[in-house]
Structure formats: C-alpha cells, structure tokens
C-alpha cells in the first residue's frame, strides 16, 4: 500500500489542550513561511502578526510514526494576546482578540470543572468561534464593545435569560453534558439581535458563486444586526449558571461518560472550540416543543430559527472579505453544471422488458455516474467505497415516495486502498456546528472562510490551513489535499482518544470437544496461525492469548520463564473466573517460542477427549472478562450446538418443514449472545465466529455475538479434514486473509448528510450508538454497511447534497486515524430524473438488506412479497407518472432495466428461496452475508457471472503484472446459453462451478483438465491442474484473477452432466424456472399483470 503522507504541523503550544502538550511538546521544523504581512493588511484582526509565524512541516513520503513530526526544536508562541491588539482597524473584525480578563477568567474557571473544558478554552483565542458563531463570540466582542456603540437593544437580556428557563424541562432529565451550556445562549440572542430574519431567505442559496455575494452586501443592509455585543456579560453569566445546574444533573445520571465518548468522533470535544455535544443540547431545547422533532442532531443550528445565525458570521466579515476575489475551485462550477442538467437522455429511454431478450450487459455493470459537472465528479468518492441508490436525489419525501425506490447508501468504508492520502495536522479542519470534515465539496467564500456543504454554516479557515503542503504555497486553502480528495485519512491528535490507543490484542477460543477434534479443524487452524504469526497486524505491543473449551474451560499460561505452556482448567462454568489474568494474554514478541510451542502441541492435546458437551457461553464470558481491560478481537471456533452453561441452545430445525416459508426460526432463541455482544461492544471487544459444523448449530442465536460486536461470521458447512478437503483449503485461505488483513480497533463511524436528509436505518454488523453513530469495536476491510435514508425537509433550494462518513479507529500500529469519505450528488425535482439516476445494483443491495430485516421481524414470505412489490410499485409508478404514451408491454427506465432480474435473483438466493432443502444455518449465514458484505460481492452472490471458458482468447484481455488475463463476455444465466460443446465457468462469489458440456472440445478437456476424455473427468474434481498449455494458463490465470479480487476463497467445483452438484449449478441459473420459482419471463409477465392493473 502506498500511503502518501502529508504532515502539517503548526506550532501551537500554549493553547493546546493539556493532553495535546504531550504530543506537541516541541514541534515545528522544516518549512517556515515568512509571516504573511500582506494578509494582515487585509484581515488585520484575524492574523495578528505575532501569530502568523507558524512553522510548518511537510514530508511528502513519511512512513515512520507520525509522532516524529513533532520532534525538533519548536518555537513556542505565546497566544496570550494583549487586549490591545484587537480592534486596530475595524469594528466587526476582532475575533482573534483574546478575551479581556473578566469573561476569560469566568470561562476558565468554569471550563476547569469538566474534562472537555480546556480545549474549548484553548481555541477561543483562535478566533474561529467568536468570528462565526454568536455563541462563541461573547469574549471577543467584549474587546471592542467600547469602540462600537452598543447597537443591542436592551431586550436582549430577556432574550438571553428566557430560553434557558423555558427549556429547563428538557435540560434536566437528559443531563446534557456540561459544555452545552456554552451554546445555550446561542439560539437565544438570535431573534433579538437579528431583527430582520424574514428579510432573508431561510436558507442560504447553495450555488457557491451567488453565495459569496450576500455576505458582502448584507452588512450594509443590516447595520443594526451587529454581533450581540451588549448581551455578552449576561450570556456569560447565564451560561455559567446553567452549567452549574447541568453539572448536577449530569452527575446524577452518570451519562457524562457516554456523552464524551460519543463526542470523540462526532463531537470532537477538543481540537475545536465547541464541544459537539453542545449542538444536541440546542436541539434538545428546541425539541421540547416538538417543532423539529426529527432533525438530525447537529443540523439544527441552521434550521429556520437558526438561519439568521448564518448571517451573523457574514456580518462580522465585511472588511475581511472585500479584497478577495474568490479563487476558482471545484464547487464553484456547480451552478454551471446545474444549468447543463442534460438528464442523461439515454438513461431515460424506456425499455420494454418483455421484448428485450438480451438485457444483461456482457461486461461487469458499472455504477452510474452522478450528473454533476465533471470538475466535481472528478473529485467525487469512488463508488466502490460509497454509493447511493439514487444518484439523483429527489427533492422531497413526496417525490421519493412517488418513485417507490429506496433511498440509501452502501458503504465499504475500510476497503483496502492502493492510494490513500494521509494528512497529519495539528488541527483537523471541521465545521464548527455540524462537525463535518472539510471536503472537496465545501465552498470557499474567500480565502479565509469556507461554507460547510452539510449545514451551510460559514467557518473560518485556520491559519495553518492557508499553507498548502503539496504545492508549498501559502494562501491556497482550496488546493490542500483535504479539499482535493473525497477520500482521505487524518492522523488524529490526542483529542480524539478517550484513552491511549489500545494495543492489538488477539484471543483465540477453540472448541476441543470430541466433535471438534473429529473434524480435525484444530490442526489446520493452528498450522495457519503458526505460519502467519509474523504477519498478524500489530507492533511490539501485540498481545495474544488462547482459550480452549469443552465442558470445562482451559486457559493457557504463557508466562515468561516457563519451559512450556501451562494449562489451567476451570470447571466451574456457572461462575467463570479468570485464573492469573496477567499471564493469559501475553506479548507476542516476547513470548514467541512459548506460543509456537503451544500451537504445535494444541492439536494433539485433546485427541483422546471423549467429552461431547460444549460450554460455549461460559467460554465466551471468560474471553470477555479476559479482554475487557484492553479491548481487541476474539476469534471463536465452534463446531456444534452449545449445550452447557449460559447460552446453551436447543435444536430448532425441523427438516420436514424446510420447504415451507412459515415457522422457520430466523430469530435468536435467547438474548444471551446479544447481551454479551453488547457488553463486548462497550469494552471495545469484537467477536468473530467461525462455525464449522455438520449439524444444526443455531447460527441465528450464535450469530448475534458477532453481529452486535461488529465481528464477522464464517461458516464452513460439514467441515471435515478428510471427507471434505476443499473446505480445508477454503478455511486455510480465508483464515490467512483473516489473520493478515488490516484491522482497526476501538472504532466509531459517523455518517453525516446534508441538512434535510436523515438517516433512517443502518444495516450491517455493529451496534447503533445514536442516530448517526455506529460503534465498531473492530473494523475490517471486508465489511460493508448499508444505510437507509429519508428526506425530512424539502431540498428545494439545494442543487447538490453531500454525504460524509467518518471512521475513527486505532490502527494496529497504535495510531488514531480518521478515514473520511465524502460523496456529492445532485438534487432533482422531477420523477423522470430520479428514475434516470437510479443505481440498480445499489437498490438491489439495499432491498436485500431490508428484506433480511423483514424476514426476521415478520416472515420470509412477507419479505419475498415485499421484494416483488418493490419491483411492481416502482415500475407502475414509472408507468403512471413518467411515461406519457402508454405502450403495451412492460416498460422500465433504462437505468432499472435489470431491476426485475436482480430481484428475481434475490428471490432465488439461498437467503430468501423457498421450496428447497436449504439448511437453516446456511440460510441464516447467507442472510449474515447480505448484511455484512460490500455490494460488489453481494451482487456476485445474488447474480453470478457466467463465462464461456473453452474458447478463451487474449482479445481484450487485461494485463496485470505481466500476466494476461482474458476477459470473456458475461452470459445470461439461462440453460439456453449453455451449449453441449462448451465449458462454462459460473462465478457465484463464494463458490465457482466449471460446467463441462458433454460434447466439449477434446482440446479443452485434455489441455485444461488434463484428462484424456469427458468420461474420465473425475466426479469430485475441484482443482484445475497447472499445465503448460496456453489454454490451461489462460483458464487458470482467469480463475486466479477472479479469486484474487475478493477476500474469501471460492471453491471451484467441476461439474459434469451426471455429477451431484449439477443441481446446485442449475439452481443458480436465475432466468430459468425451478420447481418452486418462476422463470425470468414468467416473472416479467407476473409483474406486467400487476403493473397494468
């Protein structure tokens, strides 16, 4: 992986929050731009001379620990600016000024009473807060209060005092975090201090060029709307008072801890002035009246009552903004692009599905490109990482409802990337009200201010952001990597940590009952682990431990100095305790030999075991207890139904009822595993489950342990080392990937979206911590997530909306990092545009997720009906409201032409099919995969790709690493496409079938399969021999290439006409009729009938 790292370090010692000083104790080296004197002329108050001499450090390819950047002699700048430095030139532009003594001390003392105080304080003098936020402004304005006539009507006093009083009701039960009180006065002064809100549109216009205008004009039209100067002292008093009250309530309900945790990513208590938790508090107070009950947190500051607040910052910048001509940058062309909304005519052209026979494209379907100006689209997020079901966002919920298509996002946030810019900076630039990270789609009003694209708040550009480390130029904030890349990773400073980054901790829990030993899995696992011990992601702090269990629990002491590992048996499974906790999880590097010893002896230790019981529940409890001080990853290997202790399960599968869609047990039978998973999640422990089982093991219940702790589930049906050798290879390969892949610890992911949109439901493996925050104890590169969205407010006056996902995690090297993806999409007003921008793969993926939920909460048949109805509804809505001329046949927009096919594929997929002998565990495993797989793999599992491989040529082949990979066309999944004299490869994601026709060319059979004739192809062939023939090389490289692209290992089955696997192969022929499901054509007729009703 080639990580491009940019490091920008600014000398900022004096005002760093306390933890910061540890990291920044001395910093600043390398590049040191001259003090920008010219700017201080233009923006006198914002760049006081003594601040502008920040030192920058830029390393274009630093791979070493980022802490290095902080080394070296640093220049310590005193930020205690004398009050005299303030209103030198203009009245309204003194935000940088340090607060005069009284308010400052008040703030200081109160800030000291809670943990997050210092950061807020520290950034005050920075001026961001005061400049653009009335709430933060008190202190700074006091400075020039004397200079300006107090324009404030005295009525601002009641304005300030009233709200807290009237909102008390809301504040008391919740025990809002203390910091909120800073914000409290914020909403209050607005109505008073800005007497003219109705004059202005409730929301600022989006198109950046027009936007840059208003601030210039407004000051003149609104002379009286100056900052709430005179209200300052009261506001401050107020906030101090309410802070006290809050402190009491917080202490009483003890919610402080969670709040601060939440705030770490989303809130970012520190690095910036206002704790994010402040914003929810504002919401809270407003929500009491339930006038805006559904607004997502963080966005309310700019909702209509807050709208004047948007203008307030603008007012304060009359002078600073004048001299600037806005530099041309991406989003500026937005308006231009909107003008050329040419509606993708091709995407709109209706297709008669009944007539179009060959509807499947012969190459892999690409995601539709959002209809944005190419300059913006160029910056947009890669659709593999971030994808929306509708690339044209409907303006209103009504329009969305009319379209009958689901709106949602599909994410693959932690995907392995070959190119990922990494930024190291002491301050991460984020919107002060909604905490959005700066991204390519923000607009720069001028060089000093940027406007958030999610909440439309105007923010300051911090001083150090003015320097662009890539071009080494000053004054180009819009060319910084943060603004040029939709996917970027930040090195998070210590403010983003609740505790020091945890070491990588891996605990392996093995089932060693008789049944488990019989399968022989332990041998494979221990060997793979032994081979990959050096490749485990980690550093010198990596810890590892082992637990085995049957009816008792065995711990392994790996204490230094022991000649061999010591086994400790705990037989009290009712009340599990940890014997000598300090030696059970040991440092991998220091105790490598003992660990290797243990892994070598472990498979032999239990060969004579006759114990058939399995105490999985107590073993998990023990593992949790062992891990909870640090957090980390537990890998559980289980081979049967747990039968002892807590979490014991009973068999619920009734083989006779498999075929009926009713009464199958998709819901867990106990909440033990769910509760344990939630405990694990709270302690940053993730549990990955490897289920290697021949008989029913109630995955529906067991799977909960991984689902809510953000783990993953692996299922190897009927694993046996002798009887099922392909499974052994699969386990080996997948375990290798599992052990060596990147891993992120103690992660949280927050998804933000433009005000007006809101998150409805999340899909995936995690615990939902709040409306937009997912708790992910571990995050791995192979996990995908889906989010359902709703349009809550009309987006009429917006041309684009943005979505941002921010994943905060601790890397295996112990660094705290934030990976941010931002996607920008156009908003449309007509139904035909919505249809033309539909992304059929994403829609299918989201529907699959929703269907899994539905089958668990209601029933499988309900879910199937819902899937079919989704097609019928959307196509009839299209027919009714878009098509002007009613044509016969089944018309679909071009973008949705594959929709019925994919939904039919879903219905025939193991998770949702009926009438077959799908085992319950298998079905549930497929459902787990639907929930947890990224869209690419999910699509393959639903709708396999079929290639003809007996006539591969190098025509159109790819060339990767000197290997020529043929690219045969994709065929439709229908038996009529199969010819008896060909060989076909079906790639169904986790499994591959190579079907050999009866009259297949002799050439292929001998050159590729290495056997003389069709009859001598062995029955259970699962490998292609490596032959030196051109055909063989082509086929094997092609298969190897397909396998390489995914994190799991698909087994290749070679299928002949008479082989038992033929039925599984034919079941994947989605367009054909099976005994219980319709063929594609019949399905279309059924839909047509319903649509034309």
């Amino acid at each position: 992986m080639d990580l491009r790292k940019l490091c920008i370090t600014k000398t900022d010692d004096q005002h760093c929050p306390v933890p910061n000083q540890l990291m920044h104790s001395s910093d600043g080296q390398g590049y040191s731009p001259s003090a920008p004197g010219s700017y201080s002329h233009q923006m006198p108050a914002k760049v006081p001379p003594h601040q502008s001499s920040g030192q920058f450090n830029y390393g274009s390819s630093q791979i070493a620990s980022q802490l290095n950047n902080y080394q070296g002699p640093g220049q310590i700048l005193s930020r205690v600016a004398p009050p005299s430095g303030s209103p030198v030139q203009q009245v309204g532009s003194a935000p940088q000024v340090l607060p005069p003594v009284p308010p400052n001390s008040a703030a200081g003392s109160s800030a000291g009473s809670f943990g997050a105080g210092p950061p807020g304080l520290s950034s005050w003098p920075y001026g961001q807060a005061p400049a653009s936020h009335p709430a933060g402004s008190p202190t700074s304005h006091v400075a020039h209060m004397a200079g300006t006539a107090p324009t404030q009507p005295p009525s601002s006093l009641p304005g300030n005092t009233n709200p807290p009083g009237s909102y008390q009701f809301a504040a008391s039960p919740g025990g809002p975090p203390l910091q909120n009180s800073y914000m409290k006065p914020a909403p209050a002064p607005r109505p008073v201090t800005q007497p003219l809100p109705p004059v202005h549109p409730p929301r600022p216009p989006l198109g950046p060029p027009p936007v840059s205008g208003p601030p210039l004009i407004r000051p003149s039209t609104l002379p009286a709307a100056a900052p709430p100067n005179s209200s300052v002292p009261q506001a401050l008093l107020n906030s101090a008072a309410s802070r006290e009250g809050d402190a009491a309530s917080t202490a009483s309900d003890g919610s402080m801890v969670q709040n601060s945790y939440d705030a770490i990513e989303g809130g970012g208590l520190m690095a910036t002035t206002h704790p994010s938790a402040a914003t929810p508090n504002v919401n809270m107070s407003r929500n009491v009246g339930y006038s805006y009950p559904n607004l997502p947190p963080g966005y309310q500051n700019t909702s209509p009552p807050g709208a004047p607040g948007l203008q307030a910052p603008a007012l304060q910048y009359p002078d600073g903004s004048k001299p600037f001509h806005q530099p041309p940058l991406g989003p500026n062309h937005l308006t231009a692009s909107m003008g050329t909304l040419s509606l993708q005519q091709e995407g709109l052209r209706p297709v008669n599905l009944l007539q179009e026979r060959n509807i499947l494209p012969t190459t892999i379907l690409q995601a539709p490109v959002p209809n944005l100006h190419e300059d913006i689209q160029k910056l947009n997020c890669n659709p593999e990482l971030f994808r929306c079901t509708l690339t044209n966002i409907p303006q209103t919920q009504t329009l969305l409802n009319k379209a009958k298509l689901p709106l949602g996002l599909l994410l693959h946030p932690f995907k392995d990337l070959s190119q990922l810019p990494v930024v190291t900076s002491s301050t991460i630039v984020r919107c002060r009200s909604c905490r959005t990270y700066i991204n390519p789609f923000v607009s720069f009003l001028d060089q000093r201010r940027w406007k958030c694209n999610l909440c439309y708040r105007v923010n300051d550009v911090p001083e150090e952001f003015m320097y662009n480390p890539v071009t080494r130029a000053y004054g180009e904030p819009h060319k910084r990597p943060e603004v040029q890349n939709a996917t970027i990773e930040f090195m998070a400073p210590s403010e983003y940590m609740l505790r020091p980054p945890q070491p990588p901790v891996y605990l392996f829990v093995f089932d060693v009952s008789h049944n488990a030993i019989e399968t022989g899995y332990l041998n494979t696992v221990c060997k793979t682990l032994l081979d990959n011990l050096d490749l485990l992601p980690g550093n010198t702090r990596t810890k590892i431990g082992f637990i085995t269990f049957d009816s008792t629990i065995h711990f392994y002491s790996l204490q230094e100095g022991l000649s061999q590992p010591q086994m400790l048996i705990v037989s009290d499974i009712e009340d599990v305790f940890i014997p000598m906790p300090e030696n059970l999880l040991v440092n991998l590097n220091e105790n490598r030999e003992l660990i290797q010893d243990l892994l070598k002896t472990l498979p032999q230790m239990f060969t004579k075991s006759l114990e058939t019981q399995s105490a999985l529940g107590p073993a998990l409890q023990a593992a949790f207890k062992l891990m909870s001080p640090t957090g980390g990853r537990i890998s559980v290997f289980q081979t049967q139904l747990p039968s002892l202790g807590m979490g014991a399960l009973k068999s619920r599968e009734e083989p006779n009822q498999r075929s009926t869609a009713k009464d199958i047990h998709l819901t867990p039978s106990t909440d033990f595993y769910k509760k344990l998973a939630l405990d694990c999640s709270g302690q940053q422990v993730a549990v990955d489950l490897f289920l290697l089982s021949g008989q029913y093991s109630d995955l529906a219940s067991l799977g909960c342990i991984s689902r809510y702790s953000a783990g993953s589930v692996y299922y190897y049906q009927s694993y046996h080392h002798k009887h099922n050798p392909v499974q052994v290879e699969k386990l080996q390969k997948e375990l290798k990937r599992y052990l060596t892949r990147k891993i992120g610890f103690e992660a949280v992911m927050r998804i933000r979206c433009t005000k007006g949109l809101s998150i409805h439901t999340f899909h995936g493996n995690f615990f939902v911590r709040s409306t937009d925050l997912l708790s992910l104890p571990n995050v791995n590169p192979d996990a995908g997530y889906a989010v359902q969205m709703a349009v809550e407010e009309s987006l009429t006056d917006m041309q684009v909306v943005s979505f941002q996902s921010a994943l905060l995690y601790t890397s295996s090297k112990g660094e705290r990092r934030i990976r941010v993806h931002t996607m920008c999409l156009p908003v449309v007003a007509t139904l035909s545009d919505v249809y033309s921008g539909a992304d059929v793969q994403a829609i299918t993926g989201l529907l699959a997720n929703m269907a899994v939920d539905r089958s668990v909460s209601a029933s499988l048949s309900d879910a199937r009906d819902a899937l079919v109805n989704a097609v019928i509804d959307s196509l009839s809505a299209y027919r009714a409201s878009v098509l002007s001329v009613q044509q016969p046949g089944l018309m679909a927009p071009r973008s949705l032409r594959l929709f019925p096919l994919y939904v039919l594929a879903l219905l025939k997929q193991k998770a949702f099919q009926t009438g077959t002998s799908a085992r319950l565990d298998e079905r549930i495993f497929t459902m787990c995969q639907v929930k947890n797989q990224p869209l690419v793999y999910l699509m393959l599992m639903m709708h396999p790709n079929l290639y003809r491989v007996d006539n591969l040529t190098d025509e159109g082949a790819l060339n990767i690493n000197d290997k020529t990979i043929p690219q045969p066309p994709i065929l439709q999944l229908s038996v009529e496409k199969l010819s008896r004299d060909g060989a076909y490869l079906m790639d169904a994601g986790s499994v591959m079938f190579l079907w050999i026709g009866k009259n297949c060319g002799q050439n292929f059979i001998s050159q590729v399969l290495g056997v003389p004739n069709y009859g001598s192809v062995p029955q259970n062939m699962t490998h292609l021999p490596e032959l030196e023939t051109a055909e063989s090389i082509r086929t094997t490289t092609f298969i190897a290439w397909l396998r390489e692209q995914r994190p799991f290992f698909p087994i290749l089955y070679i299928v002949k006409d008479d082989s038992p696997l033929k039925s599984s192969f034919l079941q994947n022929m989605i367009e054909d009729r099976t005994e219980s499901a319709l063929s594609y054509y019949e399905f279309l007729l059924h839909i047509q009938q319903q649509v034309n009703k």
Binding site: G174, M284, S669, F767, V768, R769, A790
Partner: protein, 150 residues
C-alpha cells in the same frame, strides 16, 4: 357518564383516589418514555442505558393498569371498564410480541435506534399519555360527582 351513585360511596371513593394516584404514575411513565425517546433521537444517551432505565418500568405500568381494570370490574363500572379494555388488550398483545429478551421489558437496545421503531415508541408514548391524562380527569370528575351527590 359519571359512575353511578348507586355504588357504595366508600368503595367508589377509594377507587377514585387510588385510580388518580395510579393514573398519575402511569402518566409519569409515559412522560418519561417520551422524554427518553426524545433523548435517544437527539443523541444524548446510549441506547443500552436508556433501555435499561425504561424496561423495568414497563411491567409495573401494565400491571397497574390491569389492576385498575380489575377494580373497575369489581365496582361494576362497565363503561369505564369498556374504555380501558382496548388498552388492556393492546398491552397484552404488545408484551406477547416483544423481542426475545431474558429480562422484563419491551425495548431492545439493538433495534431501538431504527427510525421506524423509535417513531412508533414515541407515538405510543404520546397516545398513552393523552389517554391516561383524559382518564385521570374522568376519574377525578367521577369522584367529585360521587362525593357531592352522596
């Protein structure tokens, strides 16, 4: 229609006073529920904590309400009983169809953040608050009516 004065005054008064108290308790719980869900929506509290506070309150509310209905039955207050029967039935249905849980309660922290469920729970809270409030005044009226007319 107020409770019939033919009832033994003593019993009625007891009943009405008790009912008032209980109605207030239930109102409080509904109130708490609404506030709690609002907190969840506005990102205040961890859903686990929130469910842990709310779940122990569910059964008491249902039991109090059931007890109520029994008292009305004893007092032969058919109209009042009739008004309360739908809610009783709803409670029984709601508790029967609760998610798989080992403890008492209704709310599952893993699903509560789902927008549909959150909205449903909130709406349920509002409706029940309104119902309990109205019935509280109705009981009060009944009590006063009986006191005055006896």
């Amino acid at each position: 229609m107020p409770p019939r004065p033919a009832m033994p005054v003593f019993l009625l008064r007891q009943l009405a006073v008790g009912a008032e108290h209980l109605a207030r308790t239930e109102e409080n719980r509904c109130h708490l529920t609404i506030i709690a869900f609002d907190e969840l929506k506005t990102d205040y509290k961890n859903p686990i904590d929130q469910c842990n506070t709310l779940n122990p309150l569910v059964l008491p509310e249902y039991l109090i309400h059931a007890f109520f209905c029994v008292m009305f039955l004893c007092a032969a207050e058919w109209l009042t009983l009739g008004l309360n029967m739908p809610l009783l039935a709803y409670h029984i249905w709601r508790y029967m169809s609760r998610p798989v849980m080992s403890g008492p309660g209704l709310y599952d922290p893993t699903t509560i953040m789902n927008a549909d469920i959150l909205a449903y729970c909130q709406k349920e809270g509002w409706c029940k608050l309104a119902f309990y409030l109205l019935s509280f005044f109705y009981y009060l009226y009944g009590m006063i009516y009986v006191l005055v007319s006896s």
